[in-house]
Amino acid sequence: MFFRVMRAEQYKLRRSPVWLAFVVLPVFPAFFGSVNLMNNLEILQLDWNHLWTQHSLFSSYFFYPALVGVYCSYLWRLEHFDHNWNQVLSAPVSVVHIFGSKLALAALMTLLSQGWGMMLFVAGGMACGIPLRVFPAEAGLWLLGGVCGGVAVSALHLLLSLVIRSFAVPVGIAMAGGIIGLGIAAKGYGYCFPYALLSMGMSANGQEDGMSYPLFFGCCVAFIGMFWALGVFYLKKHDVKTG
């Protein structure tokens, strides 16, 4: 049943312009990170690690959360239109599957966007003249951490976009959350805040130093489970608003 619901969700996304955001927006931090590295070679070194700090710093704090916000808002958009909630909730489908299938799609898009971001990072590094043979093995961990943190933010945003019927407001919240996450991560409480988990997972600004990966992945799983459960609870207990 879960996969049939997921396929239905995929049908809803056909011909949607949301893919454009995932293709175009990661180009900006890649370009910006590379230009910034080349402009600051007196304080930064021309290597993959320094390029990654430039690449991930702004994207993980400001733009990936907002991007996830756009995508999650879009996933609930159709349900919030007209009287579609009546149809969704009267269909013989478990609400656990409805929320879960949207979460699976959000996770897939997070994986694709992080993968695309990594490809742009490699391209940016090569354009700057950094040799590919010294490409760091930790990049796989940065990618995995970014995806896990991204899925935790996706779970939160699916809940927010389920509760808030506006398309735009959760995107604003995501932007604000990313910036607040910057402060919370700097204070050392990043494990308690999904937006900070995203930046920690991406190892923005070299945050992996002293970071506990088991705790990080445990927190991601806990947030995903908690927001999924809250979403299901909301769908079960809350009367829908239509029209």
């Binding site: 949607s16 312009p17 949301v18 454009l20 955001a21 175009v24 927006l25 900006f28 931090p29 370009f31 910006f32 230009v35 910034n36 402009n39 304080i43 702004f58 400001f62 733009f63 907002a66 991007l67 756009v70 879009y74 239109f81 506006s166 398309f167 735009a168 407001v169 995107v171 604003g172 919240i173 932007m175 604000a176 910036i179 607040i180 910057l182 402060g183 700097a186």
Partner: protein
């Protein structure tokens, strides 16, 4: 015109537009708290200038998205209710556009005034030395309001033209990127050419120089007021307004 504006205010009831503005101010307040949580001697000495240096960066990152969100909330009500057909038979589309621009202007003016009060209050709270140069803060407020309004007007045209609000919001997100990117570029000219987004940096009144990586000592310099850049922004606003009028006039209902 006042009737149209009053209608917009009625339509915006319970749409939580004030909450978007409050969220922006709350994030900025948190940012200042974080930046100055243990102010040193250098922070207190240069605090008033440092605020004028730091805030345009934050406004540039946040405002394209927040302005896009505000514009989307104001415009989307017509798409959802399919009300453009009705409204534009009762009044010209220009009148509706003007009313929505005015509504946004009211919110933006409130944001700018509250932001100025907030940052001046924070400066007093942290005990910055000396007094702020009020003329600098008045100019900062004028430039911030104008740049924000230009972004809002641009996003409003997009949100009213395109029914699917993903598109204007993604453009707003890209605008945040562009604003940030342009602030770090060493060349000033691109800031004037990339739509309204580059003006958060182009209208900055303070420039940092001689930053020492080891001692973390830097100099902040009050540069001459960039009236030329402000004039270019006004030209952009006229272009956005005229193009918006034409696009909305030609839009098929």
């Amino acid at each position: 015109m006042m009737t149209a504006l009053r209608m917009e205010i009625w339509k915006s009831r319970r749409r939580w537009l004030w909450l978007i503005c409050a969220a922006l101010l709350a994030v900025e307040l948190l940012w200042i708290f974080w930046a100055f949580h243990h102010p040193g001697e250098q922070d207190r000495q240069k605090g008033w200038l440092y605020l004028l240096y730091n805030m345009p960066l934050l406004n540039g990152v946040l405002f394209p998205v927040i302005g896009g969100t505000l514009a989307s909330r104001v415009a989307d009500v017509e798409h959802k209710g399919n009300t453009l057909k009705l409204l534009e038979t009762l009044q010209t589309e220009a009148r509706l556009f003007h009313a929505k621009l005015l509504l946004g202007m009211l919110y933006l003016l409130t944001i700018v005034v509250l932001q100025i009060v907030m940052i001046l209050g924070m400066g007093v709270f942290y005990g910055f030395y000396g007094r702020p140069v009020l003329l600098d803060y008045v100019q900062y407020a004028l430039f911030l309001f104008t740049a924000c309004f230009a972004v809002y007007a641009f996003q409003l045209v997009l949100s009213m033209t395109v029914k699917n609000q993903v598109v204007p919001l993604c453009i707003g997100l890209a605008g945040s990127f562009i604003a940030l990117l342009l602030m770090f570029l060493p060349y000033p000219l691109p800031r004037l050419l990339c739509g309204p987004y580059g003006f958060f940096g182009a209208l900055s009144l303070v420039y940092m120089k001689d930053w020492n990586r080891d001692t973390r000592i830097f100099q902040l310099v009050r540069i001459p007021t960039p009236w030329g850049s402000f004039a270019v922004l006004l030209v952009w606003m006229v272009v956005i307004y005229l193009v918006g009028r034409i696009v909305l006039h030609r839009k098929e209902l």
